[in-house]
Symmetry: C2
């Protein structure tokens, strides 16, 4: 049973108190076996039963839970780097979408890709995400938009779960946008989602969540409500892409439907924030998307002050957030979202885990949870986020196995 | 004589045309020996004299010049991570400075540090900067603010030049701010700079440039003019920290004094831009400082349109820009500075080299220049900046030697 000692500060990040309470243990030790944490506490209180075990030296570094990237669109065909330059030259996301770019060009490329191609590409991304200390991710469908192509994306994630040691949660996002075949037949597409896609997804047990993109250019709150309620009947927990570009009642709907999280929220209304607080919906901030699309950043501080816990994720996707650099998301979450570094750490660990229903198995360093943890060669988390240099990982452990260096 | 072949695209970045012209050579080869580039061109035009040499395979990657970080404050005592949280909570840079934080707290820590301590810390930073593909940096003094402590910083850089293979240019920045001993005796400190520091710096040949921080909280344009003119008599080329927080005539002064570059410029006036264009002053954009201090970003596009070439650098320092992640500076230069990716590449290569007078020896891939180059596993520079994931370097070469992986 390995014991990690000489930890200057172990941030448990357990789900207790407010977002700023991360329960650091100074001069700590961590014990695990079979991929599971068995004990954490002060090194001088290490129980006798562990005192003859194999020791590992953290050399005075800090230990934090593996990061949880709780909002990604991992599997997609093609790329959209040409839109990067279009945006730099002043075109908006909606303008690009109206001209056949945006999501629809990725839908076309994803339909053309084989399942194996999508899998190989996803595996490469996942390997690189692990280098950033990510040990659990959420993956969405939503680039297929036919029964067959939505299932293809979800099958990729199923295979990824089998291959990878990372913990993977899956979201059905058939309601990402209206596919070209249905632009003049919205009802027809909603029926396809409810009558064909959802039953199939449920039958094969392919998703944990059902997500809808509520936006002027996508689904109305009424359409979203219908889809989410149908999803619930199949056991899928609601999630929402809400209030990203316009305030469209997404946060309010998240509260009403009992969504586990509402994501984006850059334009969320005061009422929406209140409803989320009352209903216990987690807010997921996606600052990399704000950076790339030159849109306002979510003021995470405002949500925390109102009693809404905030998670931070990358939103990795080929258009509006083509980076899975979760360290950058954290830096922006502090600089532009006004999170303190401690709050930001909780935003990518326990609250991110809660946003995808994984908090029973990971997201904090507690006995019984997965032994996913990072050893960082810095005095504290504040210094680590602030110094932002990409080279502070001493070790990364995934399910108790050292995967870096 | 090694020959690198199978290069999909070699970006020469030579100093010709406008900022967007980077002269890519498709299906290229690169020949070097003794640390110097001997030939670049199309692989099928490789001269016979090189056809029997040792080949290396770029495997279809792209090749760009090593990056030049043309504005850093590399050697300093202490850190200022506590100010990171203060700024997140809404305190301004000027407020923090007025309360004894900011530059002055670093001055105190730098005075207390030994030359060896500063050297070891700088070496660690430099090693990590190299991982980002940086092969040439500029280093400023300005945290000593006594004759002895300014010399101490400059001696660190001299030793760094002897130890490191990186190309290092040095700037005397005694006029960074007024030290506490002189807050009520500005004339006394200016005399100290002119009569004591500059002669000593020149005598030991410790600096290439003389820089002044022109700002409400630091030096007036008149004071800066006097210092820069005195520096010129000792052979030091003027540089300026200009118009960062307020428009204080810094750009105009840069043009008037024949400065090689004016750096920051977030608040530059229209007149200032015109004068810089006429005088051929390089603009150095430091977007990481804007990010951390939540100040406006420099609109690089506006300067380019007005005929001012733009370089991008990190401004690495312990307070306002505690990261040397030049990839982040590039991403921000595009997203917030409205540079196209091609322009941004030139901003961290040839124009950055010009901003520190190193363009005769490096900054572009041309015969006779240093063999500092990066092989990236991407189809083009646009994709590389856009995908921002920190893991695309196939090889890094510094003076002809492979230093990564």
């Amino acid at each position: 049973m390995p014991v990690l000692k000489n930890i200057a500060k172990l941030y448990t990040c357990r789900d207790e108190g407010s977002q700023k309470d991360i329960f650091p243990i100074e001069k700590a030790a961590l014990v695990w076996n079979d991929g599971i944490i068995r004990w954490t506490g002060k090194e001088n209180e290490l129980p006798d039963e562990f005192s003859h075990e194999e020791f590992m030296d953290a050399e005075g570094g800090i230990v934090v839970p593996g990061f949880v990237d709780c909002h990604t669109h991992l599997a997609f065909g093609g790329w959209r780097s040409e839109e990067f330059e279009m945006r730099l030259k002043g075109k908006s996301y909606l303008q690009i979408a109206k001209e056949g770019g945006g999501i629809l060009s990725t839908v076309k490329a994803t339909r053309e890709a084989t399942e194996d191609e999508l899998l190989n590409k996803s595996l490469l991304f996942l390997e690189r995400m692990k280098r950033f200390g990510v040990t659990c991710i959420e993956c969405k469908s939503g680039y297929g938009l036919t029964v067959q192509d939505e299932l293809k994306q979800l099958h990729v994630y199923r295979r990824l779960k089998e291959i990878s040691e990372c913990t993977i949660k899956t979201t059905f996002l058939g309601a990402h946008t209206f596919p070209p075949e249905y632009t003049t037949n919205r009802r027809g597409y909603i029926d396809l989602i409810i009558n064909d896609m959802l039953p199939q997804v449920a039958k094969e047990n392919l998703a944990d969540f059902c997500d809808v993109f509520v936006e002027e250019s996508a689904f109305t709150p009424a359409e979203a409500r219908e889809i989410l309620e149908a999803g619930k009947k199949f056991g899928l927990i609601p999630k929402l892409h809400a209030d990203q570009i316009t305030a469209s009642g997404g946060a309010e709907l998240a509260a009403e439907t009992g969504a586990i999280s509402a994501d984006h929220l850059e334009q969320v209304s005061e009422t929406g924030i209140q409803r989320m607080a009352e209903a216990g919906v987690i807010a997921v901030s996606l600052p990399i998307a704000s950076l790339y699309t030159q849109q306002p950043f979510l003021d995470c501080r405002q949500l925390i002050e109102a009693g809404v816990p905030v998670a931070v994720a990358t939103d990795f996707n080929p258009g509006s957030a083509p980076s899975y650099d979760i360290h950058l998301a954290m830096l922006l979450g502090c600089n532009h979202g006004r999170l303190t570094p401690d709050e930001c750490l909780k935003a990518v660990t326990i609250y991110a885990a809660k946003a995808i229903g994984a908090d029973k198995e990971l997201g904090s360093l507690e006995s019984g949870k997965k032994a996913d943890f990072l050893v960082l060669d810095v005095p504290d988390v504040s210094f680590w986020i602030y110094h932002h240099n990409g080279a502070d990982f001493r070790y990364i452990f995934l399910k108790g196995e050292q995967i870096h260096p």
